[in-house]
């Protein structure tokens, strides 16, 4: 032990670099603590420890922290990566997209109805009325001021045709078992 203590003293003074001696010191906790105290003697003599807490020895805590970090580094890749939690919040762009589509449809309806209105209101004397003319048809405006499009003869012919259809229908019902 004393022999190694003397080697330790020489090692501290950079007068010994024998690998076997270093191996012995590295494996011996008592010699390592002795190394710390020898080091402290020099630090105190050189006034390098003024104001410091000389009981401070961070060696064990540093080595423990390093051991923990190494363990974390090893464990981390093995552990399954946690799945990201799904958010209940509707993404802003998604909601914004829905509004945009609704606004576009509404815009198309308004523009097309305006275009149709412009085309049908040719008579300025006619007050604006509810215009129900479809895109491809020619239905009459619904209004008290609207003039009838069919003559009395046409109406009479149509009624006669309807009556004939009804009679035919009744005859067919009677002949069926």
């Amino acid at each position: 032990m004393k022999e190694y203590s003397q080697d330790l003293s020489s090692l501290m003074d950079n007068e010994l670099g024998d690998k076997e001696v270093i191996n012995t010191i590295l494996d011996d906790a008592v010699l390592q603590k002795q190394f710390s105290r020898y080091q402290l003697i020099g630090d105190v003599l050189r006034d390098e420890s003024n104001g410091l807490d000389l009981r401070m020895d961070i060696t064990d805590s540093v080595m423990a922290a390093i051991a923990n970090e190494k363990q974390d580094d090893y464990v981390a890749p093995l552990a399954a990566a946690p799945e990201p939690e799904k958010s209940n919040v509707v993404p802003f762009m998604k909601r914004f997209g829905q509004y945009a589509i609704a606004a576009s449809v509404a815009g198309v309806v308004v523009v097309s109805s305006l275009m149709v209105n412009q085309g049908s209101s040719t008579d300025p004397s006619v007050a604006p009325v509810l215009n129900t003319v479809p895109f491809g048809g020619a239905a009459a405006p619904v209004s008290l001021q609207a003039t009838p499009l069919q003559s009395e003869n046409e109406i009479k012919e149509r009624n006669e045709r309807v009556e004939a259809l009804l009679k035919d229908h009744q005859l067919q019902l009677q002949t069926q078992p």
Partner: protein, 192 residues
């Protein structure tokens, strides 16, 4: 072998997976690191934590250490950078007068922490210092001379042997006996 070569040997061992070699580097340099930190860290209670951070950073960076500069110069830079980061995290500015890596060996930051150190720590530090100086004062002259030339003047065993006019083996033995005598008084003081 000089200090640089010995440090490099320990670093090569660490790079080969011998973690205990790093413990020896921590034991060797922790007081010097703490001494540098007193220049930046105002609260003495934070010095152990910041010191620990320094050594963890050093350990993580060791694979990149190529030995172009001395280990202590490299350690000094990491210590100063860690101290500055600490100040930033505390929303404080680094001191106006900075210190260079070239000044690392001669830097004396002894006055920096005096006003902020824990009174109990100051008292203990003074007690340790008194014990060491008393034991050295009581040593035989040849031991006293050898340890003083080595620790205060930084002389090699060869230089001391020439001054003392004795073999290198005798210098080696004298320095060890001086340390052993001091350690005998110091050990119970630190363990209590």
């Amino acid at each position: 072998m000089n200090e640089r070569e010995l440090d490099l040997q320990l670093i090569q061992r660490i790079q080969n997976g011998e973690q205990q070699a790093f413990a020896l580097l921590v034991r060797k340099y922790q007081t010097r690191v703490a001494n540098i930190l007193t220049r930046y860290v105002r609260s003495s209670g934070d010095i152990p934590d910041v010191s620990q951070e320094v050594f963890i950073k050093v350990y993580k960076s060791l694979p990149n250490f190529r030995g172009d500069s001395a280990f202590y110069t490299w350690l000094f830079r990491i210590t100063v950078n860690t101290a500055k980061n600490y100040l930033t995290s505390q929303s404080r500015r680094p001191p106006a007068s900075d210190i260079d890596a070239e000044e690392a060996d001669s830097y004396d930051g002894s006055g920096a922490l005096k006003d902020h150190a824990n009174p109990e720590a100051i008292l203990h530090s003074q007690e340790v210092k008194q014990v060491i100086l008393k034991v050295i004062g009581d040593l035989p002259d040849e031991l006293k001379s050898a340890i003083t030339l080595r620790e205060l003047e930084g002389m090699s065993y060869d230089e001391i042997a020439q001054i003392e006019n004795c073999p290198i083996g005798t210098v080696r033995s004298r320095i060890f006996r001086a340390r052993e005598a001091i350690d005998k008084q110091l050990k119970p003081l630190l363990e209590n």
